[in-house]
């Protein structure tokens, strides 16, 4: 019984095995290996040109490595075709972008429903619940241009969550937000992590990286180090409460 619990806790959601990525003579990534366990929160850091974006593209199944293997939820996705990768993205990954990327002519709830539409069946109530979870139920019928940056990013998080992905992949999620909106979004991630979501965040912000359990540092396309971050006392336990309190204050 104990062994079974231990196995579940150490189940690997993502395994990166010696991947390299070359663009002609340029080596964007060289021999990178690491593992993300289920329910783990990993931050990938590094200066500009270190290969962070290339790494997130490969983890997000939007690109393939030149060599090496990417095992996502037990399936090697490194040699799949573009159409097969689309299916993997649809079924297993929730994406959050720095620039939000909401469809400008759809309301907040419709933007969430787009992810449902391409995944399986559209359920407006479920989409509204996802927006409620990120504190945006009242803004569900607003167009992106009628929402603040923080609100748009929260819609983006709701869209990433709607299909219950195996992995939430966030690319500089607070990069375009002011401090208070950044805090709201990070509180949401804390809440998701507390609920058991597996999260990979690419960031150059040490404060954002510090929220994760581990930080993977890339330099010049190589894995420089992996550090375990000290647990932020009380934060994980209180994450849900913190996010809700901040949202209530905003409301």
């Amino acid at each position: 019984m104990l062994d079974a619990q231990t196995d579940a806790a150490t189940e690997k959601t993502l395994e990166i095995q010696g991947i390299t990525k070359s663009f002609g003579a340029v080596h964007a990534l060289s021999d990178i290996s690491f593992t993300v366990n289920r329910g783990e929160w990993i931050a990938i850091m590094g200066p500009s040109g270190s290969g962070k974006t290339t790494m997130i593209n490969i983890i997000g199944c939007m690109d393939r490595p030149t060599s090496g293997a990417v095992i996502l939820d037990g399936e090697d996705v490194s040699s799949l075709s573009a159409e097969e990768l689309t299916v993997i993205r649809r079924d297993k990954i929730g994406l959050v972008f720095q620039q939000f990327h909401l469809v400008p002519y759809l309301t907040a709830v419709e933007n969430v429903m787009v992810a449902q539409y391409y995944h399986s069946l559209v359920d407006e109530n479920e989409a509204l619940q996802a927006l409620d979870r990120v504190g945006l139920l009242e803004r569900a019928r607003h167009l992106p241009r009628q929402l603040s940056g923080g609100e748009q990013q929260r819609v983006c998080v709701a869209r990433a969550l709607i299909n219950s992905p195996k992995l939430i992949l966030a690319d500089e999620p607070t990069g375009n937000l002011d401090e208070s909106n950044g805090k709201i979004v990070m509180d949401l991630f804390r809440q998701l992590h507390a609920e058991g979501s597996t999260i990979v965040v690419v960031t150059h912000d040490p404060d954002v990286a510090a929220c994760a359990e581990k930080t993977i540092v890339l330099e010049y396309g190589r894995l420089a180090r992996i550090t375990d971050n000290p647990p932020q006392t009380g934060k994980v336990e209180q994450a849900g409460e913190t996010a809700q309190t901040t949202l209530d204050k905003q409301a």
Partner: protein, 433 residues
């Protein structure tokens, strides 16, 4: 969700679908106008060409054979008192021309009878004709026809003579100059044997630009009285709306019996000048019908060239439209590349994205096409009124043609954008770095 996305894209994007609709509408309006004019231009050009005279001459078989045998012109074959009966047609039979299968395509006709008279001591040709005759056909229809319609290009000082007056004549400019006649003057006519025929009044002096300028034109009844041939005419000029000749028509003109039954039926039921001539000969067995080939061939050539011009303009407008759509759609897709990348990133297959964007474009194009069609009908009327002085009939056939053309033009115009959509990778547009 698909239609929600389409509805959102069409109603909440600022002006982009409208621009596509406008480009399509412009192309469709020109295509609709040109196609409608092209289909109607045959009748219009034919009507215009009818003003340049008759394209069929109906003559008695006997006179035609006599003239052909001795290689005489019509003037040389003019009526003499001693002329044989087979050299004339009965005036009463002329109505049959308006009762053939293609009666509605017989626009005008006028009978003529030439005779010789003496005026001021000079022997001149007097031609009797219908000027403006009202006819009641046995079918119950009424027809107004005569020289004033057939010779609309004549420059007439004064007026055409009246059919019912036996003392009014029209004099050609050359003759009027020689005899120093003006409108309103009277002069004495005499028979070739010197018998006094009384005085006639000049109601009009005409300039035709041809040999008619040396003649006197009088009401048919007067010429018949002078010639001593009551109820007789020598020839009939017929102006008919016809279809341009083709190989079948040319073969039929040479020998209708050489055609197969099906070919003969096609030829007979098509308004070729040769089939109209054939039908007139059927109605008037004693007559032989000659086609005025220069006029018939010019009509065909002008019609074909005009239709070709219209077709080229239609193609040109559609090519311009396709280029405009191509630019607009490509710009639209480029502008929305992040959105397209996002859809692909959240799991949309390339085909699904293309279907979404194409539906959006085709719906915009449909709205533009409907507007463009209505605008095109307006343009067609404008062209009709300006060029031909009459309205252009809207042809139902244009609607499916335009629909197919819009679909093709929109799809072809969207090809570069579709290629972009196909090749676009989410990684290229989502990071924004």
């Amino acid at each position: 969700m698909f239609w929600k996305m389409i509805f959102g894209a069409l109603t909440r994007q600022r002006g982009k679908p409208l621009m596509i609709a406008f480009a399509v509408g412009l192309g469709v309006s020109l295509a609709t106008a040109m196609l409608n004019v092209m289909f109607d231009v045959g009748d219009k050009v034919n009507q215009e060409l009818k003003t340049y005279g008759a394209n069929l001459i109906v003559a008695p078989r006997g006179l035609a054979a006599f003239n052909d045998l001795y290689d005489l012109t019509e003037d040389e074959g003019r009526t003499e008192q001693s002329a044989r009966p087979e050299q004339f047609l009965n005036e009463a039979d002329i109505l049959k021309i308006k009762m053939i299968f293609w009666a509605h395509n017989i626009v005008d006709f006028a009978p003529y009878l030439d005779t010789r008279v003496l005026a001021g001591g000079e022997a001149i040709t007097m031609t009797g004709a219908w000027f403006d005759r009202h006819l009641d056909l046995p079918s119950g229809e009424t027809v107004d026809t005569g020289m004033n319609r057939m010779k609309s290009w004549w420059e007439v000082q004064g007026s055409f003579a009246r059919d019912e007056s036996l003392r009014e004549v029209m004099v050609g400019t050359e003759l009027a100059k020689r005899m120093r006649l003006a409108v309103g003057d009277s002069f004495t006519l005499a028979a070739p044997d010197g018998r006094d025929l009384g005085q006639v009044r000049v109601c009009g002096i005409f300039h035709s630009g041809g040999e008619e300028d040396g003649r006197v034109f009088a009401p048919l009844a007067l010429a018949q009285e002078i010639a001593g041939q009551p109820g007789k005419v020598q020839r009939v000029e017929v102006s008919a709306l016809t279809t341009p000749e083709n190989e079948l028509a040319r073969r039929a003109a040479q020998n209708p019996n050489s055609l197969s039954a099906m070919e003969w039926e096609t030829w007979y039921c098509t308004c070729y000048i040769s089939s109209v001539a054939y039908q007139i000969e059927e109605a008037l067995p004693e007559a032989r019908v000659k086609t005025v080939l220069q006029v018939a061939q010019s009509e065909g050539a002008i019609l074909q060239k005009t239709q070709l011009l219209m077709l080229l303009l239609t193609l040109l407008s559609l090519i311009c439209s396709a280029l405009a759509i191509s630019n607009l759609v490509t710009a639209n897709v480029m502008e929305r590349s992040a959105e397209v990348g996002l859809l692909k990133a959240v799991g949309a297959h390339t085909g699904a994205v293309i279907l979404l964007i194409m539906t959006e474009i085709l719906l915009s194009a449909f709205v533009g096409a409907v507007g463009g069609y209505c605008m095109g009908l307006g343009f067609a009327q404008l062209i009709g009124r300006t060029v031909f002085g009459s309205f252009v009939t809207a042809k139902a056939l244009v609607i499916p043609i335009v629909a197919v053309l819009v679909l093709l033009v929109t799809l072809i115009g969207s090809l570069p954008a579709m290629r972009m959509l196909f090749l676009l990778r989410p990684t290229e547009v989502l990071h924004g770095k």
